[in-house]
């Protein structure tokens, strides 16, 4: 954590009409660091992630990745240089098998090295994907069509696809929401150990404070588009302001929070 930050966010602002979704947010993330992001619904967590991966253009401020300004980059370019993300509601290819989902992710990730015109179902690539399926514990679903998966398995596939290219920054948008209690630690163990091994910086949006406390090196608390706290987990969770605004008396599970993604391009 002594390295130069891999991701620098400076003075990021975003507003939709009168609604301010991000107000002057500045964060540095070092390689290999796991940063938790917490906040109530509508606090601006997903907007923050969407701006880093280029889905939304910030009204003001800059995002620097490994010393390069990537503000307003296209999502596909962000993914290409090593900024990847998973989704709150899993985004997979519904009509394809689990294996094909991963094969496509792998093929795109290696497009600099192998031609996309080569057959998708290449033996070496299949072996590689099976290893990933093993790691995420979804090997048994290999030939199942993605739309028939349980929410948990679908989530795992989503995260696996995001991690295939061994990104340098991985943004996980509520990776454990909708996942059973037994599964959630397994997922997190797999993801975090992989990223630690590769030195990937992880931004982890979570409602589950136990997860945050257990895996994050540092926690940011958001409220109404503002970063109100940036400290080690224990310290943040102890903060009375954070407790009042976010953690709440009975830490309601929140499945209604959905990113406001619009379909029009």
């Amino acid at each position: 954590m002594t390295d130069a930050p891999i991701l620098c966010v400076t003075g990021l602002c975003k507003s939709f009409g009168a609604v301010v979704a991000a107000r002057d947010i500045s964060v540095d993330v070092a390689a290999g660091e796991v940063v938790g992001i917490i906040g109530a619904n509508g606090a601006g967590k997903t907007v923050f992630v969407n701006m880093i991966t280029g889905y939304l253009k910030p009204s003001r401020g800059t995002i620097t990745f490994a010393g390069t300004d990537i503000t307003g980059i296209r999502p596909c370019d962000a993914a290409h240089i090593g900024v990847c993300r998973s989704f709150q509601t899993s985004q997979v290819f519904m009509t394809m098998s689990v294996l094909d989902n991963l094969l496509i992710a792998t093929a795109i990730a290696s497009k600099g090295r192998t031609s996309l015109l080569r057959p998708l179902r290449d033996d070496a690539r299949i072996t590689q994907c099976e290893a990933i399926l093993n790691r995420y514990g979804i090997r048994e679903y290999r030939d199942r069509v993605a739309s028939t998966l349980s929410q948990g398995a679908s989530k795992l596939l989503d995260i696996a696809m995001a991690g295939v290219s061994e990104p340098r920054v991985l943004l996980l948008d509520e990776p454990t929401s909708g996942v059973s209690v037994e599964e959630k630690y397994d997922i997190m163990d797999v993801v975090i150990s992989a990223s630690r091994r590769q030195g990937t910086a992880v931004l982890l949006i979570e409602h589950d404070m136990e997860i945050v406390e257990r895996y994050a090196d540092r926690v940011l608390a958001f409220d109404q588009g503002e970063k109100i706290c940036d400290a080690p987990p224990r310290q943040v969770l102890a903060d009375p302001r954070v407790r009042a605004l976010i953690v709440g008396p009975d830490d309601a599970d929140d499945s209604t929070a959905r990113p406001r993604e619009t379909t029009d391009a």
């Binding site: 959905r258 993604e261 619009t262 379909t263």
Partner: protein
């Protein structure tokens, strides 16, 4: 100057005709999200029915003005019978199908109705000029016009007002707006969406048939008259914004005036300009100039 007036009047009367035909198409699309290729058949059937009955009753010695009654009756009858039949027999079973399948089904219906016209009415052309002859002509800016075409402008305005009143001022309009905005919300609110669909489709069919019936007195009503009308009304509806009545007005005005200008000055571009403008509008404003509000999903 004379030419400009001529372009304006020609354009306006052509626009009126386009509007009357297209407004039914846009209403059906707005409510049911169906792009109905068979709309051209409503037009053709309306024209045939009107021409046939006008000829028949004229031969029986009815006065010329009775033609206007027959035009209205033909439109209502065609819309009610054919529209209802298509909705009940074909579309009713297809609402869950893919968009393309529905579109193709209406294409199939169009092909079938084209030939049924031949089987019912034969191949000889029909003429129903009596209503047009009755109204005579008038001289505007040095060019003689038939009053009948000018009345079409009036009819278009009346239809536009009626549609607006129905949508903006009636209980029906409110129900329609809910269904247009989001079918599921409509269902959740206890609206009988199926009934709304039937009424809408029949009303749209009647308007299409009215377009044909109203224009019939100026035409030789002969097989194949529905083919070109379809793409023209598609152009009108797309330019204005699919599902918007104001859009249909603007679209019809643009297409009508552009075509009139082209015919007067560069006749070779007559057809091209219409579709070039359609493409241009889609490129700049894909939803059309007057897109109605839509529910956002995800």
């Amino acid at each position: 100057m004379q030419t400009i007036v001529a372009v304006l009047i020609d354009g306006l009367s052509y626009s009126s005709y386009l509007f009357i035909v297209s407004v039914g198409l846009t209403i059906i699309f707005g409510v049911m999200k169906i792009l109905n290729v068979a709309h051209g058949s409503f037009y053709a059937w309306g024209a045939y029915a009107a021409a046939y009955f006008i000829g028949l009753f004229h031969g029986m010695g009815f006065p010329h003005w009775f033609g206007f009654v027959l035009i209205a009756v033909s439109a209502v009858a065609v819309g009610a019978i054919i529209g209802l039949a298509i909705e009940r027999i074909i579309l009713r079973k297809m609402y869950e199908h893919e968009e393309v399948h529905i579109l193709l089904a209406t294409f199939g219906v169009f092909l079938i109705l084209e030939d049924v016209i031949l089987l019912v009415f034969g191949v000889n052309p029909y003429f129903a000029y009596q209503p047009m002859a009755l109204l005579g002509s008038v001289k505007i800016a040095g060019v003689t016009r038939d009053v009948y075409s000018l009345t079409l402008i009036g009819l278009a305005i009346v239809i536009a007002l009626a549609c607006w009143l129905c949508l903006a001022r009636s209980k029906w309009g409110k129900i329609l707006k809910v269904v247009i905005f989001d079918r599921e919300i409509g269902l959740a609110m206890g609206i009988n969406v199926n009934a709304v669909y039937v009424y809408t489709f029949v009303a749209g069919a009647m308007l299409g048939a009215l377009g044909g019936a109203a224009i019939a007195p100026t035409l030789s009503v002969s097989p194949g008259i529905g083919i070109d009308v379809i793409v023209l009304s598609f152009a009108v509806v797309v330019i204005g914004g699919m599902g918007s009545i104001a859009g249909a007005i603007i679209g019809a005005l643009m297409v009508g005036l552009l075509r009139a200008t082209a015919v007067h000055f560069v006749p070779e571009l007559e057809l091209f300009v219409i579709f070039a403008v359609m493409a241009a509008v889609l490129m700049v404003r894909p939803e059309g100039l007057f897109a109605p509000a839509r529910a956002r999903r995800i």
